[in-house]
Amino acid sequence: MQKYDVIIIGGACAGLSAALYTARRALKTIVLTRDIGGQAAITTEIENYPGTGSILGPELMNKFKDQAENAGAEIKLTQITSIRKEGDEYIVTDGTDEYQAPALILAFGLTHRVLSVPGEKELTGRGVAYCATCDGPLFKNKIVAVVGGGNSALEAVDYLSDLCQKVYMFVRGDKFRADETEMLEQVQNKANVEIRFNTSITEIVGEKKVEKVKLNDNSELELNGVFVEIGYTTQTDFLQNLVALDERGQIIVDQQGKTLTPGVFAAGDVTNTPFKQAVISAGDGAKAALSASRYVKNLKGLADKPDWNR
């Protein structure tokens, strides 16, 4: 069992900002996360993070990581499997190790939505992908499909059509949900793009890699890749007995980043904040960290010194 003052789950804008703040308050801090930078790290260019100008997503998130580590926070790449409470302490496990702390900050953001069709899970990373800019170049001159009718789907089609031999776009409804009219036109005019409305995948087939898909009209289509671009969702089912969630599965927090459970704080996209933005997540992370710091120091009977003394 490894003991900390604060355990932060999630290592992107909210989690790493929170880590910077708790570490600077001399709280022993660990960040448990399956990746660094989350959605921001797979964003090519970030143009609305104040103070940095236009910056590449991974570059900005590396700065977040370095700053949190330099302040003294420990970061561990891992996937947590459960959280339980014993007395005043929370115990987080990742299947191998256990971590204990009186305060938790939940900041693990959103997870890409999946199709939930046979073959999808088995072939993920073997032709099924969820990020066109991350994996697209590995499909040069191949035949791929993009699933979705929103802006991110459209951007994926636009990007992939410059690399791939052919790009199908499967839209479930009878029209686009995308509002980027300029890109819509651009995509529709590309010779190697074929848009199919009222179309959804019912099965992804392949032995070792994606070979074909079955569609809702019972037809089959041979292709090499499927890019799923149908948005993001919360993955908070495992927290049901720990914190209050809203109807969309988002963690309910107050203005100070507190959940309804003492000692549990949350920040960023995983919460019921109405705006999912890097700068907002960073601010919320700092807020939750200051609340957590106050909570831990009260519990230990220490004075919570303000940040400006350092």
Binding site: A41, R126, D135, P137, L138, F139
Partner: protein
Amino acid sequence: MELNDQNFEQEVLKYTEGPVLVDFYAAWCGPCKMQGPIVEALAEELKSGKSRAFKVNVDSSPETTAKYEIMSIPTLIIFRNGEVKEVLMGLNNANVLKEKLEKYQ
């Protein structure tokens, strides 16, 4: 150390002293920028033992990338006596990689 289509066979497939970890990456891949330093540090650490760790840039080594059907990066493959023993996708920390390598000593 970085491998390419020319020396991959010699350094990975023909190496029989222990398991070899290969990190397939690209300059345009965000998570690879996090994985890279982990693998580089591991490669340094392994030097004294029999396991090895290398990086392969998917853009400059198209043959190797195609041969192992890399369709998502970072992908980490553990080889032993030229055979693929394990394929890991996404970011992995040094401890996980070390544990996996130990399995194939």
